[in-house]
């Protein structure tokens, strides 16, 4: 019945109001400029200061409304609530809440996402090898969810259906507990079925385990440089870059690709780096639907540590790395002696690059202004 109503409504009101427009545009260019009301297209010009050659989205994403800023996400390591257990082990506690939330993934495009803590990617868990980790997981979403960590743990803590607690229903909760092993650059994600939907809706995040230097004789220096908060680590400019995509029309193909969720975030506002300090990128691929994603760095080369589980590079002096879904690794490079300027990096699937996964480092000499 409601359909009938709307159809008739269209015929009556629509044809009348449409008739005027149609008459005006009959066989003409129809270039009449009306003074339209606009509440979202006001600032529709791309940032003219930044390079894009016409290939860009129009307007700005409202990071405040999203509740997270891709630039802050680069470095907002979450070390949890820290305490020491009777046996001397460090305990890190986290609270992660699954919730439904609409996220603006490109200017004006809103995606009905499922999130951990209202953000995509979820909180970047950063801990040290051997720490005890407790994740208090609360599902306040509309579907059953889990958290599956890529790490070493018992079957009951694996966060998959029908094992241990299985899928955690809406309004239910569970505490995942395990030792942070092995060190490296890892990830976590929801493993509820249907898996594909639960991942591409946004339920994933980074799980970074810094090596314990005392356990790696011979590589102590390299290990210490990775441990957040040490003097050796202070020198490094560390960034989390998580490659993801969004299927906005649910046809099992991504309309938007991004580094850290928002299309062209680091093209429209490049990431500033000081050329005098080395750069370390924790790179994770969670892109759904496509077999691989990649990162290509312009005008420079990097050392790569696959999964971050080694202290010597698994590939030296490369400028492109490709990853399947859930593959990740650590990139180390330096712009020392480079001319200051904008250095591009992006997926070297040109398609992904032009659909949002396009970025720049703004290399400066000296302190960066955030």
């Amino acid at each position: 019945m409601s359909f009938k109503f709307s159809r008739k409504f269209f015929l009556k009101t629509g044809l009348l109001s449409g008739a005027a427009t149609m008459l005006g545009s009959l066989f003409t260019g129809g270039r009449s400029v009306q003074s339209g009301h606009s509440d979202y297209q006001e600032e529709r010009s791309p940032n003219k200061d930044e390079p894009h050659g016409g290939m860009t989205t129009m307007g700005q994403v409202d990071h405040k409304r999203n509740g997270f800023d891709p630039h802050k996400m680069l470095t907002d390591w979450d070390t949890g609530q820290v305490s020491t257990l009777p046996n001397g082990q460090t305990l890190r506690e986290y609270e992660i809440v699954a919730m439904d939330k609409e996220i603006e993934i490109a200017p004006g495009i809103f995606f009905p996402a499922w999130t951990y803590n209202g953000r995509i990617p979820g909180p970047t868990i950063r801990c040290t090898e051997g720490d005890r980790i407790q994740i208090h997981f609360i599902n306040s979403g509309s579907h059953p969810h889990t958290i599956h960590f890529h790490g070493i743990h018992s079957a009951a803590m694996d966060g998959v259906p029908a094992t241990g607690p299985g899928m955690i229903g809406p309004a239910e909760s569970f505490t995942y507990e395990f030792d942070a092993l092995p060190f490296g650059c890892h990830l976590y994600h929801c493993h509820s079925t249907p898996l594909k939907r639960h991942i591409h809706k946004g339920l994933y995040g980074a799980f970074i385990v810094d090596p314990d230097p005392t356990l790696h004789p011979g590589h102590e220096q390299a290990a210490r440089s990775r441990v957040l908060g040490t003097d050796e680590n202070e020198r490094w400019q560390e960034f989390l870059i998580l490659m993801n995509g969004f299927d906005t029309n649910f046809d099992n193909e991504n309309e938007v690709y991004a580094a850290n969720t928002v299309a062209f975030a680091y093209q429209n506002k490049p990431i500033q780096v000081d050329r005098n300090r080395p750069v370390r990128v924790y790179l994770i691929n969670v892109t759904e639907f496509d077999p691989i994603n990649s990162l290509h760095l312009h005008a420079n080369f990097f050392d790569f540590y696959d999964h971050g589980t080694t202290l010597t590079p698994t590939s030296e002096t490369i400028d492109t790395v490709m990853m399947c879904q859930a593959q990740r690794g650590i990139l180390e490079f330096s712009f020392e002696g480079f001319e200051p300027g904008k250095y591009m990096f992006h997926a070297h699937q040109s398609e992904f690059a032009e659909l949002g996964w396009m970025s720049f480092f703004d290399v400066v000499d000296g302190e960066v202004s955030v």
């Binding site: 545009s25 400029v33 009306q34 297209q41 529709r44 016409g54 307007g59 495009i109 398609e351 032009e354």
Partner: protein, 389 residues
């Protein structure tokens, strides 16, 4: 009782009361939202149709029409799977049935295909394919003249040549006349189906809200009735010159549509219109000239009349090529085709009446008549093979 009440009040009240009740019930509907218990909370239904595409040095220019349960916000534009800058005029959300221009400064590649995707705020995507990118013609005297010439080649010349058969047709006598009349009906039958088909096809490209298919059928029917009524306004069926004029008018509208298709195909680069195709149209439309001549066979006709009939039937093709080349909204194209179909139906009916009147044997359904009818269709179909690319 009822009559007394109705008589007691002024007549206009019986318009005011139902209208007031209608407005009242609509107001109540919107105020109370009675559909709420049904839990209708679906995302808005959206539709974006690209009605016109213009390619020039500045890039790609689209005219889009939107429809939706809520105003549609076009958030981003993709060309060949790449986000591209664009300007929308007018800016802002687009209310249902309104249209806007989207200008995309994209370096398109001549002769190649481009795929455009419009993404709305809900993430829905609407695709539009430019099959072969060619610069949209701009108005210049030279170009306008070229398109007019093209129209003359596919419209005026063949009809004129067909009419030149007149002296020969005159020698065929009464039996021959009936044969030619049925041939004409066959020809018209072909044109009717062809025109309707074109109209229905083009209506598919129009915004869904227009109900393209329904619009074509209704327009055809109404056009038929109006032209039929005009033709019969004197109380009797048109004959002779009058019938020939209606024939020329109907065929002229068909040629307008034909010109439209040819002009559009040429401008958009979809048809490499070689001289072969023009020759094909000349042969195809020659039969139309013969049809127009038939009602004049039993009377004297001056040369000037033939010239006028030729122009009436042929010249619209030139108008068609022009309109088609310089881009038009599909719903108007569909309406043009539908009017053409209605006009052709009218002459089919009138030629049928004329045939019936001209038949003394009591039955018009004879082998020669059927042969003429089939031959008319066969000639048109056969020569159409030359122009289908």
């Amino acid at each position: 009782m009822n009559e007394k009440i109705t008589e007691r009040f002024p007549k206009w009240l019986w318009i005011v009361i139902p209208v007031a009740l209608l407005l009242g019930s609509i107001a109540i509907f919107f105020a109370t939202n009675p559909l709420e218990p049904l839990g209708v909370q679906a995302p808005p239904v959206e539709e974006v149709t690209v009605e016109r595409t213009i390619l020039d040095e500045d890039g790609i220019h689209l005219t889009v029409r939107v429809n939706g349960s809520e105003p549609v916000k076009i958030a981003q534009v993709l060309v060949d799977d790449a986000y591209w800058e664009f300007t929308q005029t007018p800016k802002g959300p687009l209310s249902r049935l309104s249209s806007a221009n989207i200008d995309i400064p994209y370096p398109w590649v001549q002769h190649e295909l481009h795929e455009i995707k419009l993404i709305t705020s809900t993430g829905a995507t609407f695709a539009h394919t430019i099959e072969v990118a060619e610069p949209t013609p701009v108005w210049s005297m030279q170009r306008v003249w070229a398109y007019i010439l093209l129209g003359i080649y596919i419209g005026v010349i063949p009809v004129g040549l067909g009419l030149l058969f007149y002296p020969y047709l005159k020698t065929l006598g009464s039996k021959g006349l009936n044969f030619l009349l049925t041939l004409t009906i066959g020809l018209l039958g072909y044109l009717l189906i062809d025109t309707l088909q074109e109209g229905l096809e083009i209506s598919q490209r129009a915004a869904g809200v227009f109900n393209g298919t329904l619009m074509v059928w209704l327009t055809t029917g109404i056009a038929f009735l109006i032209i039929f009524a005009v033709g019969r306004r004197g109380g009797q069926a048109p004959e002779g010159l009058s019938l020939s004029t209606y024939l020329a008018f109907g065929i002229g509208l068909h040629n307008l549509g034909e010109g439209l298709a040819v002009g559009a195909a040429m401008a958009s680069g979809e048809a490499a219109l070689g001289s072969f195709l023009v020759v094909g149209f000349t042969l195809h439309n020659l039969t139309e000239g013969i049809g127009i001549a038939v009602p004049l066979l039993d009377r004297k006709t001056g040369f000037g009349t033939f010239v006028n009939l030729t122009l009436l039937a042929g010249l619209p093709a030139a108008a068609g090529t022009l309109i088609g080349a310089f881009s038009y909204a599909p719903h108007w194209g569909a309406i043009l085709f539908a009017i053409g179909a209605g006009a052709i139906l009218q002459v089919m009916v009138e030629v049928g009446f004329f045939l019936n009147k001209n038949t003394r044997t009591g039955t018009w359904f004879t082998v020669p008549n059927l042969a003429g009818f089939v031959l008319g269709i066969a000639i048109m179909y056969g020569t159409a093979l030359l122009v289908n690319v």
